[in-house]
C-alpha cells in the first residue's frame, strides 16, 4: 500500500540547533500513527513540516508516493493533509458554523452578489457533526461555549468533512479531562475507520495505546525507532515514552539523593 505521507531522511536546523535529523516515517490509510517523545524531541517540528508551515532542510516529503515541497499550510491542506492544533483548533468568539467553514465558505450568487451560503453551511455542519456522533445544541452558538473536548471534536469533524486523507493531531487530549479525552479518542477511531491516516501526538501512554497502530519515538530530534502494535507491549511503549534508560538512571540518582539527605538528617 502506498503511504499517504512519507518522510525520507528528513532534517531540519534552526541556526546551530539540530531540530530533526534523519527522520523516516510512513503513514498508511486507516492507521493511527502515534508520535511519542518528550518536550523538545522534535514532534512539533516534524508535524509542521508535514502540514506545510516550513519545508525540511534535508530529505524528502512524499504525498501518496509523489515528492512534494509545501510553501504554505494551504498547499498541504489542498493535498489532504489537515492539522488540528491543540490551541489553534477553533476561534472561541465566533459561531460553530462560521468556524467550521472558515477559509472554505460555500457561496451562492454571482459577482458582487456572491455571498456566504449560511443556510447550506448550517445544514452541512449539522450533518457532518452528527455523522461523526457529535451532539450540537445550536451551530450558531459561539465555539467558546463548547468544552475543550467538544472543540477538538468539531475540529476533527471539520477536517474529516473537508476530505482530509491525513489527520495530524497535536496533543488533542493533553488539556482534557478523562471523559473529554475519551470523546476525542472515539473520533480518532471514527476517522480511522473511514480510511483516514492519523498522526497522533500525545504524552499519555493510555491514550496512545488505546488507539495506536504504530508508535514512533523521537528523542532530541532523532528517531528511536518505529514499532507496530503487535511487535510491542504497552509497558515497552511506556518505557519508550518515559525515556527508558534515562528514567532508570534518574531513579538511581534520586535514590542516591534520598540516601544522602537521609544521612544528613
Amino acid at each position: 500500500m502506498t503511504p499517504l505521507v512519507e518522510a525520507r531522511g528528513i532534517g531540519k536546523y534552526f541556526g546551530p540547533v539540530v531540530a530533526l535529523k534523519d527522520i523516516s516515517l510512513r503513514v498508511l490509510p486507516g492507521e493511527v500513527h502515534c508520535l511519542l517523545g518528550d518536550n523538545g524531541a522534535g514532534k512539533s517540528t516534524l508535524i509542521k513540516i508535514f502540514s506545510g508551515v516550513f519545508p525540511p532542510d534535508e530529505g524528502e516529503l512524499l504525498v501518496e508516493g509523489e515528492p512534494v515541497r509545501f510553501q504554505s499550510p494551504k498547499q498541504a491542506m489542498d493535498r489532504g493533509i489537515a492539522t488540528v492544533y491543540q490551541d489553534l483548533a477553533m476561534i472561541p468568539l465566533i459561531s460553530i458554523v462560521r468556524n467550521f467553514f472558515l477559509g472554505r465558505e460555500p457561496t451562492v450568487g454571482w459577482g458582487p452578489w456572491k455571498r456566504f451560503d449560511l443556510r447550506t453551511a448550517e445544514a452541512i455542519a449539522r450533518r457532518a457533526l452528527s455523522e461523526i456522533g457529535i451532539e450540537v445544541r445550536d451551530v450558531h452558538q459561539a465555539v467558546g461555549t463548547l468544552s475543550g473536548g467538544e472543540r477538538q471534536s468539531v475540529a476533527i469533524a471539520r477536517a474529516v468533512h473537508f476530505g482530509a486523507k491525513v489527520l495530524i493531531l497535536d496533543e488533542p487530549t493533553s488539556a482534557l479531562g478523562v471523559k473529554e479525552a475519551a470523546v476525542v479518542l472515539r473520533y480518532i477511531v471514527e476517522a480511522k475507520k473511514r480510511g483516514v491516516g492519523v498522526v497522533f501526538i500525545t504524552h499519555n501512554v493510555h491514550h496512545a495505546w488505546a488507539v495506536g497502530d504504530v508508535f514512533t519515538l523521537l528523542n532530541r530530534g532523532r528517531s528511536m525507532g518505529t514499532f507496530r502494535r503487535e511487535e510491542t507491549t504497552r509497558e515497552a511503549v511506556l518505557q519508550m515514552m518515559a525515556g527508558g534508560e534515562e528514567l532508570a538512571s534518574l531513579e538511581v540518582e534520586l535514590a542516591e539523593i534520598a540516601r544522602t539527605k537521609g544521612g544528613e538528617a
Binding site: T83, L88, R115, E135, R137
Partner: protein, 341 residues
Amino acid sequence: MNEAPPSRLRKVSPVRRLMARPEFGSLAGVILVFAFFAVVAGDRGFLTPMGTVNYLEVAAQLGLLASTVSLLMIAGEFDLSVGSMIGAAGMALAIPVAVWGWPMWAGILLAFAFAALFGYLNGYLVVRTGLPSFIVTLASLFVLRGGTLGFTRWITSRTRVSGLHAYAQGDPLSALFSGHPLGVPISIWWWVLLTLVASFVLLKTPFGNWIFGAGGDPRAAHAVGVPVARVKITLFVATAVSAALLAVIQVLDTGSADVLRGELKELEAIAAAVIGGNLLTGGYGSVIGGSLGALLLGMVKQGIFFTGINTDWFKVFLGTLLLAAVLLNDYLRKKALEATR
C-alpha cells in the same frame, strides 16, 4: 455511553437572543437617549424634522467612519490616522482644483486614490512589521497631519483653501457627494448605504467570515487558509477611503478645505465602534452596532444643544457614555457566551 445522549438543545427566548447580539447595548442606548431628549428637549425642537436631520447629519459624519472602523476593529486592528486623513484628503482635492486648475472630478478622484494608497501603506506596514496597528497608525496620524500642514502652507502659504463651490458647478462627480436628495443631506444617504454594504460584507460574505477569523485568532485563521494579511490591508484601505469620502462631502458642503479638519475624529469613531459592541481586541462586533454608536453620539451632541445646556459639556457625556457602554457590552458578551451552556 452507548445510548443516544439526551438532547441538550434548550429553547432560548427571542429577547435573550436579541440581548446576545453585539449591537444590543447600543440599540438600548439609542432608545434611552432618544427618550431622554424627547422628554427634556422635545418642546425645544429636538423632535422636529429639522432637529432630526440636524442630529442625523452629525451622526452621519461619524457613522461614515464608524462602519469601516468597526470592520477593521473586528479584524483586530485600529486606524488612528482616519482623522488626519480627513484633513489630508480634503487638501488632496482642494489644492489641485483651486491652485492647479484641475477639474473637480479629477480632484475628487485624487483624494480617493491618495487615501487608498495611504491606507494600503498603513496596512502593509502593520502586516509586514507585525507591530501593533495602534503604534503604526499613531505614527501615520502625526506624519499625515504634519505633512498636510507643511505641504499646504508650502503651496498656498495658508492653512485653508476656500471658494471651492464655484468649481463644483456642473461637475459630474461632485453631484454624487453634495446636495440634499429628497430633502435629506447627502452624508446621511452615504452613511446608510455604507452601513448596509459593510454589514452585508461582514455577515453575508466569505470575506466577512475572514474578518471575524482574522480578528478572533489570526494564527488559527491563517492555519485554515484565510488570507489574513490581505483581509487586514483591504480594511485599512477601506477606513482611509471612508475618511476621504467624509472629506469630499465636507469640502463640497462648506466649499473649503482646512488642514485641521477631522482632528480627534479617529477617537470618536473608535468610541462609536466600541459603544456599538465591537471588541477592542477583535473577533467580535457589528457594523450596525458601530453605526448605532455614531447615532447615539450624534444625538447626544445635538441633544445637549437643544436642552440649552452649554455644549462644552459634550465630552463629559461622551466619556461617561463610553465607559457605561463598555461595561454594559462586556457584561452582555459574557452573558451571551454563557447563555447556551
